[in-house]
């Protein structure tokens, strides 16, 4: 289904138009427009300070916008906050669990904030603890949980009201690789159940794993929009050859490599050469007698897209 032929506006879960948030002279979010369709997994990709979390807080109605239009499930979160949030699950960037309550009580009390009855919440809390693989920790104090456990509990908590839209702000930051994969698996399951996911991340692999469609944000603006594969296709080549000559020589070698690839990026520690045939390109480099210390060929990623669009890397 092409996006152009599909009237997103009529069915949008989230509709933002010229959304703006200023702090004094500084524009944290600088006039962004986007729509999120039901059941979609939508990503906001960008470096720290790009305006992703600010956007998330405006969606939840806990931060007032400076100007622009914002509708979540057809309502303005600024004037009907509790009603909008009744259908949202919010997973903040850093865990804000209730440290005065135990793990299971965190889920139950949180559910009470949504006006849910205990008869529903007690079995639901057990179900969510199992989902988060924390059944053993039901009566543990929050402070005794590991970082990964707290993260999973925070996500489980965000599901207690069976939200239609789940807002995840940097869901896997600070998690080890195994914990990340467990979490991604859980999020896939939710998506299969029809939950709309809105994810902010500065990890390109996470965006590629989780998002059907994403916007790339930088300095409060949207600089590109599309599916991960279409963005890569549009803004990068199929493959990338990475070569390292040592930090002293990288810059000096660029001129000799310039004509080999359509595009070259020089990073402090390596040179990226963009081409459809990475191996062929690398062979040519060697044929010229330019022997890099290390080299590798990989497929283009969203990291390359971001580099192309902003001239900077995602993680600085």
């Amino acid at each position: 289904m092409s996006e152009a032929g599909f009237r997103l506006l009529d069915v949008s879960v989230i509709h933002a138009s010229e959304l703006r948030k200023n702090y004094g002279d500084f524009a944290a979010v600088d006039g962004i427009s986007f729509d999120v369709a039901p059941g979609e997994s939508f990503g906001l990709l960008g470096p720290n300070g790009a305006g992703k979390s600010t956007t998330m807080r405006m969606i939840g109605g806990t931060l007032l916008r400076t100007s622009g239009t914002l509708e979540v499930l057809g309502l303005d979160p600024e004037t009907r906050g509790p009603e909008v949030r009744a259908s949202l699950g919010v997973v903040p960037q850093s865990d804000n669990l209730d440290e005065e309550l135990r793990a299971r009580d965190n889920l139950i009390v949180y559910g009470r904030y949504f006006g849910l009855p205990l008869s529903y919440l007690k079995p639901k809390a057990d179900e969510l603890l199992e989902f988060a693989q924390l059944t053993e920790k039901a009566n543990a104090k929050v402070n005794s949980l590991s970082g990964g456990m707290k993260r999973r509990l925070t996500i489980a908590r965000g599901l207690v009201n069976e939200p239609r839209v789940l807002l995840l702000d940097e869901p896997t930051t600070g998690l080890d690789p195994q914990a990340r994969h467990i979490l991604w698996d859980r999020l896939f399951r939710l998506k299969e159940q029809g939950v709309t996911l809105v994810v902010t991340t500065h990890f390109m692999d996470e965006a590629e794993q989780l998002c059907d469609r994403l916007v790339v944000m930088d300095h409060g603006q949207i600089v590109a929009e599309g599916s991960p594969s279409s963005l890569i296709k549009q803004y990068s080549s199929r493959e990338v050859a990475e070569v390292r000559f040592g930090s002293e020589r990288n810059a000096a070698m660029v001129d000799e490599l310039r004509d080999l690839a359509g595009r070259i990026e020089v990073l402090p520690d390596r040179i990226l050469m963009y081409a459809d045939d990475g191996e062929g390109l690398l062979e040519e480099v060697h044929r010229r007698g330019l022997n890099p210390v290390t080299s590798l060929v990989r497929r283009s990623s969203l990291e390359d897209v971001f580099l192309r669009l902003t001239g900077r890397s995602l993680i600085d």
Binding site: G60, G61, T62, L63, L64, E78, T79, R80, G81, P82, E83, R85, A86, S87, L88, V90, P92, N96, L97, D98, E99, E100, L101, R102, D105, V109, Y110, R112, Y113, F114, G115, L116, Y120, G158, N161, E162, P163, R164, G194
Partner: protein, 277 residues
Amino acid sequence: MSAIMGPTLERLRRRPPTVAALYAGNARAVIERGFRVIRNANWAVIATGFFEPVFYLLAMGVGMGALVGGVPGPDGRPISYAMYIAPALLATSAMNGAIYDGVHNVFFKLKYGRLYEGMLATALGPMDVALGEIFMALFRGFLYAVGFLAVLGVMGLVTSWWALAMLPVALLIALGFASLGMAATSYMKGFQQLDLVPFVLLPMFLFSATLYPITVYPGWVQALIMALPLWHGVELMRQLSVGYFDGRTAVHILYFVAMSVIGVTVVTLRLRKLFLR
């Protein structure tokens, strides 16, 4: 799509537009959380708030009272020194408890526990959180007041059934201080400002005719003290303890009613500034 939120959504849709952004009619959930925490809490910590005025009463009232002897009561008849300061200590205790909950507790939960951030990501509004927290502050104040009044009863320091009215009056005093304190908290940025609180409260406790009559001061100092809230609380409690009332009684009550109305109004207007930052 889930149906579980149906009843809540139904209720939220019926709210008038004036409160739709701020209030979900579910302060009950915040109060429930408070009781759950109290149930798990260390009772020794809670009990300290009860013992403080009792220690003052024993040290000053009974100890120093032996030196002081009798003092004129609200109606002019002599009463023991312990009887004189006991109602004042009850008023002070209501103030301290309310400030502890409305200022220190709120500020800590806001800045460090980030408790309110979690609450406000749900179907609650900032008004629900404020009402719930004020209720918990009053509940704690009420517990202390009941305990202290029981001690006064046992020690024979109250002589009128009117003393029972000290309980609701303690709540009124607590409401005034908790709401105004919470309003002040909305302007606070760091711990340095929090340090100003005892700087205000301690002199107010010492000079508000708590330990000796206000008549020892020159006129302008008296006027200054009478403008401050604690003096009204102290005088009101003192009158109740012996069941003597005059024209000033109504003034004292009105003072706290006005203070509470102003406090609650400012808190309401500053809700976003208080909780959403």
